[in-house]
């Protein structure tokens, strides 16, 4: 008897999530924004294990389901911050990271296509918990810098192992984008013309390499413009399975980048990042069917490349029919240490003309679609990861709190380092 009890006790202690019984959670009574479809008043979101099982107004809730009452609350997909270096730099920078700057690679003359930004990601970063507490369930880990800076990946912020956090494209790897930049100094180029020339050369050489791999291995090709590992990584770009995210601001430069596809006939799937003057060339961007990643806070002509910076940019681009992914271009550091502030970016975008539903889409389904993972994240639909947030008000408002955050069906708990410092120093009744 004792042995059996011991075994049973042991089994209970070792109870693993992948047990025979499904974990069913029902979020009920809230105003549900699936994003992929119309808002549902007093809707139900049914979750089974890691996935959303059903969403609707009248859904039968299985017996034994854990019910989370969201009456009076707002229920949305978990937010996606599509431009961060979260987990790549802890406070203090390289001097406190053994000399590493995990946000960028040295590369070769501005090319570091083989660099995978997520490989330096630290799941123990103290800035992840605040992001999660603020309703961000998925972030893009992107390299910073470099004419071709390297590969980006999307990470769900639940769990503590990188492999478990990566959002892998169905029929693809963890990489969801290749980063590129038009900025001076990115390419070891003295001028825009030189940078464009170098970019074209590298991309054409990637195609040439891909068509002549065997000869390359026999040392029977001409020399190429980038090292082998980078050319290999660029295959996914030139066969258009990976989008090339180009950081570019000035109107004329945006047109030059679009010309890579149009005039040079390079097979590319482009996404524009920053695009401060995008609103001036919206028709060209729309005609090229190129999505944009833009912010809603910046309106300062800080350089001659961003003279046209306006907060209405996101709204104007969206109105032109361009898919808009909202990122942060404000100064509240939603890229590194305040990743959760992306929801205030959305609020500001609304204040400057972007409709509310579009703003929510811009930080949920739009990034999922742009990066080919809409089958997994970004909306409340069956089959998607159960990344869900229950808010006590309008998610874009400062006074609103994310009351409950689920990532892959698991309610997220745990205090941040900030919480512990606050607890230590915040005044409490009775404490001197």
């Amino acid at each position: 008897m004792r042995a059996r009890m011991q075994t049973a006790a042991l089994a209970a202690l070792l109870a693993l999530p992948a047990a025979a019984q499904s974990q069913v959670i029902a979020i009920t009574g809230g105003t549900v924004h699936p994003v992929s479809g119309a808002m549902i008043e007093r809707g139900t979101v049914l979750i089974r294990d890691e996935k959303i099982a059903d969403v609707g107004a009248n859904i039968a809730i299985p017996a034994g389901a854990r019910v989370i009452d969201a009456s009076g609350k707002i229920v949305t997909p978990g937010l996606v911050n599509a431009n961060t270096q979260l987990g790549l730099s802890e406070g203090g920078g390289p001097q406190f990271s053994g000399g590493y700057n995990d946000t960028r690679a040295k590369g070769t003359r501005g090319v570091a296509a083989a660099f995978r930004a997520w490989e330096g990601f630290n799941p123990a970063s103290t800035f992840i918990t605040p992001a999660r507490q603020g309703g961000v369930t998925t972030v893009m880990i992107a390299p910073s810098g470099g004419m071709i800076g390297g590969q980006s990946a999307l990470l769900n912020l639940g769990g503590d192992r990188l492999e478990d956090m990566l959002v892998r494209r169905t029929n693809g790897g963890p990489a969801v984008a290749m980063s590129a930049s038009f900025s001076a100094g990115a390419a070891d180029a003295a001028s825009r013309g030189e940078l464009l020339g170098r970019l074209r050369e590298v991309l054409f050489d990637a195609r040439a390499y891909g068509a002549n791999r065997a000869a390359f291995e026999r040392n029977a090709t001409r020399s190429f413009a980038a090292p082998r590992a980078d050319l290999e990584a660029l295959q996914a770009v030139v066969d258009t399975s990976l989008p090339l995210v180009v950081e570019v601001d000035r109107a004329a430069d945006i047109r030059a980048v679009l010309d890579l596809k149009r005039r040079d006939k390079l097979p590319l799937r482009l996404i524009l990042l920053g695009a401060a003057e995008g609103w001036q060339v919206a028709a060209d961007i729309a005609a090229a069917k190129v999505p944009v990643m833009v912010g809603a806070m910046s309106n300062i002509p800080g350089s001659f490349d961003v003279l046209g910076a306006r907060q209405e940019n996101a709204a104007l681009l969206r109105a032109a029919g361009i898919p808009v992914v909202l990122i942060s271009n404000g100064s509240d550091d939603a890229q590194n240490f305040n990743v959760q502030n992306i929801r205030y970016e959305a609020g500001n975008a609304v204040a400057y003309g972007l409709p509310w539903d579009e703003a929510l889409r811009a930080i949920t389904l739009a990034p999922a679609e742009a990066f080919g993972v809409a089958d997994q994240i970004g909306s409340l639909r069956p089959g998607r990861d159960a990344n869900i947030v229950i808010w006590d008000g309008d998610p874009f408002e400062f006074a609103t709190k994310a009351e409950t955050v689920l990532i892959r069906g698991v309610v997220q708990t745990g205090a941040s380092r900030q919480d512990e410092l606050t607890r230590r120093y915040a005044p409490m009744k009775g404490r001197p």
């Binding site: 203090g92 806070m297 002509p301 100064s331 005044p427």
Partner: protein, 478 residues
């Protein structure tokens, strides 16, 4: 003693006026006629509260104005719902449930919108690090020596910086433009009204005290690692050494200003500024992140008998909130910046709330051209974080962090920062509750005159630089 001193000053001024004959005898200047050598020119004299770059700001003429049917955050009391405010001759005349106005007053029906005092940013680098940025425009840090008390930020201010009108559109009516934090002592700050002008003098807040920028921590010791200070201990030592010199200078000049015996001491611009701090005429604005360093800066202030007006950034202010209260030092703080430097690692979003709860004056500042346009949003973030930490806070508290408390930090709480009779008519009419992310400033008054009206695009302030370069809202670079 004071009137005799003033008479001497007047006499000297007349004596060195252009076209004054050398033999001109000035009434009441008996002491001067007794000298064998000519009296020093005004430029050689180190005088308390000297004003060699006087403000030339002139308020625009404006009719009396009534704003009614508005919810008013006065900065000095509870929200007045459905109230009204009367502005006349540049001042707030009345504010309350109703106001009585003369027939000639312009009447603005607020339609249920909100009104606050003009917002005040105690920490900006507008004009000294203007847009567009670059070496030709990098005038905020005289990073050639760790102590540069001799420089004044206003002499680096470019009034055509496009960030100024953008601040105004964010509801900001007064800014402190500071030197940067590369130096232990960075120089005088400039207190400016956010108004168009062809000169920095045309923006200067008349009668405002100057600030003195000081900095501790990582920045000075990183900038001067090769020549010193290279460590925090040298930060402190060099700071104290500067005050020792200032003490001696002040004693000499106070004595000479009282007696005019013999030749005046040599005038030194840097020591002159520091002496003014010691006399209480200039307010110390001290950039400092860590609690332990703030405690050391407080001891230095005690050693030399000056007061620190405000700690800027003060990421760890919450750890010594009680001390800030007893020392009457305000905290010019962010809502949520942190983590970007080792000394900012312990940032918490309840910082402002904890400082406030301890009875110290908390100020929401920006140190950033974008944040400066959204002080109301920063205050809202700090309010939410404070409530989440269990600190009882009102909306009025949050508004005080961007109005009344920064006004005190700049020594201007008798003139701005609240909407009370007699205060300057610096007023913002908001599209909604200023603590909402969706709210924008609809109209801004400075000294009772409209300087911004969102509905009037033709009158929109665009600096000279913007003409031809920066598109307006219709997409034209007119």
């Amino acid at each position: 003693m004071k009137s005799a001193h003033l008479a001497r000053l007047v006499a000297l001024a007349i004596a060195v006026a252009p076209c004054a004959a050398a033999s001109q005898v000035v009434a009441g200047a008996a002491a001067d006629t007794a000298r064998k050598t000519p009296p020093p020119g005004a430029g050689a004299i180190s005088t308390p509260n000297a004003d060699p770059f006087p403000s030339t700001y002139r308020a625009r003429a404006a009719k009396a104005t009534v704003i009614r049917n508005v919810n008013i955050f006065t900065g000095a009391g509870p929200l007045i719902r459905g109230g009204a405010i009367l502005l006349r001759d540049g001042k707030v005349v009345a504010v309350g449930a109703t106001v009585s106005a003369t027939a000639d007053a312009t009447v603005i029906d607020g339609g249920g919108r909100y009104v606050t005092p003009g917002l005040i940013d105690t920490h900006t680098h507008l004009g000294v690090y203007p847009a567009p940025g670059g070496p030709a425009h990098s005038d905020g840090n005289e990073a050639t020596a760790p102590v540069t008390a001799h420089v004044w930020a206003e002499h680096s201010v470019w009034p055509q910086d496009p960030q100024f009108p953008r601040d105004l559109m964010g509801g900001v009516t007064t800014v402190q433009v500071l030197p940067g934090s590369a130096n232990l002592i960075g120089g005088r700050s400039a207190i400016l009204k956010v108004v168009p002008s062809t000169s920095a003098q045309g923006m200067k807040f008349p009668g405002a005290k100057y600030g003195l920028k000081m900095a501790c921590g990582e920045n000075p010791k990183r900038v001067y690692a090769n020549r010193g200070p290279a460590t925090r201990m040298a930060n402190v030592a060099l700071t104290r050494a500067a005050w020792i010199q200032a003490e001696a200078y002040r004693r000499k000049w106070d004595a000479w200003n009282a007696n005019a015996k013999g030749d005046p001491p040599t005038r030194d611009l840097g020591l002159e500024t520091l002496a003014e701090v010691l006399r209480g005429n200039i307010l110390v604005q001290n950039h400092c992140y860590q609690a332990d360093e703030m405690m050391q800066m407080i001891d230095i202030a005690h050693e030399f008998g000056y007061k620190i007006r405000s700690f800027h950034h003060g990421v760890e202010a919450y750890k010594i909130a009680d001390k800030l209260a007893t020392e009457e030092i305000s905290g010019s703080l962010w809502s949520d910046w942190g983590g970007f430097k080792m000394e900012s690692l312990d940032a918490i979003r309840a910082n402002i709330a904890i400082v406030h709860a301890a009875g110290a004056r908390a100020v929401l500042h920006s140190d950033d051209g974008l944040g400066s346009q959204r002080l109301n949003q920063g205050a809202a973030k700090a309010l939410a974080a404070g409530r989440e930490a269990g600190i009882p806070l009102t909306d009025e508290d949050a508004i005080a962090w961007i109005t009344r408390n920064p006004a005190w930090t700049l020594g201007l709480d008798d003139r701005i920062g609240t909407l009370e009779p007699g205060k300057n008519a610096d007023v913002v009419l908001w599209s909604g509750n200023p603590l909402s992310v969706y709210t924008r400033a609809d109209m801004v008054w400075i000294d009772g005159a409209v300087y911004f009206d969102r509905s009037d695009t033709a009158q929109r302030w665009r600096t000279d630089f913007e003409l031809g370069y920066v598109p307006d809202n219709d997409g034209r670079t007119r």
